[in-house]
């Protein structure tokens, strides 16, 4: 599809909607402590907002938000944040993912566990978002695509 055949209503609507979807995705990620939500769901919503832009305004311009080459590195970074949290507690004398060994001062044991959960949720959301976008990009770029 060339950019001249795109529908301006579609472009305007998706460009207006995308930031709000991303904001709600962040809410879902960080609200995982208090209600339904968490890294997997929030990451999927972040990916949905980027894929909506990919479909409506085209691959070239939506790359301003998330480059095609970022998919696997950001996904690996998310998994690294998760595993790194576990390894950090391992290095600081605890067991793997034993959050109360995290090096945040002045936090109670329960608060440290809460902080550790937040860290890994961020890692999960990054990984899920990047991988979903990467799979879409791979399919569009692959042998079957253009």
């Amino acid at each position: 599809m060339t950019s001249s055949s795109r529908n301006p209503i579609l472009i305007t609507a998706s460009r207006l909607l995308a930031p709000f979807i991303q904001l709600f995705a962040l809410y879902v990620i960080f609200h995982g402590h208090f209600g339904p939500g968490g890294g997997f769901q929030g990451g999927a919503m972040l990916a949905a907002s980027i894929l909506m832009l990919r479909l409506s305004v085209g691959a070239e311009r939506s790359e301003l938000k998330f480059r095609k080459s970022w998919g696997t590195p950001v996904g690996a970074l998310g998994a690294l944040i998760f595993a790194g949290t576990g390894l950090l507690t391992l290095l600081l004398g605890g067991r793997f993912l034993e959050y109360h060994y995290l090096p945040f001062p002045d936090l109670s044991r329960a608060d440290l566990h809460s902080a550790g959960i937040l860290l890994i949720e961020v890692g999960v959301s990054l990984a899920v978002m990047a991988v979903l976008v990467a799979i879409y990009d791979d399919i569009m770029e692959g042998p079957g695509g253009n």
């Binding site: 995982g32 208090f34 696997t72 690996a76 109670s108 959960i117 990467a134 692959g142």
Partner: protein
Amino acid sequence: MRKISLIALVLFGALLLYASSGLPGHGDPDGPSHRERSRVGSPVAAAHYIRHAQGDAASPNIVTVVLADYRGFDTLGETIVVLTAGLVCTLILRRSP
């Protein structure tokens, strides 16, 4: 051959339906997963989680605490599975780097 597999399928479905009639009710407080002790006397995980989740982590959502804290290693595995799926798609579908 088709007929045999069809009959086997129907029989297996009937077996599953029959087995599901013996399951405890949804949310049954006396169900095996909600007891303090299992039938052989070992402690049951669910009761421990419900009792200790809020004290162990400052999060009122027990599901999050189980997912990311008690079963954090399992969630790490899930993330690795997602990442592996993405990597395999890249390896198979991209023509050149």
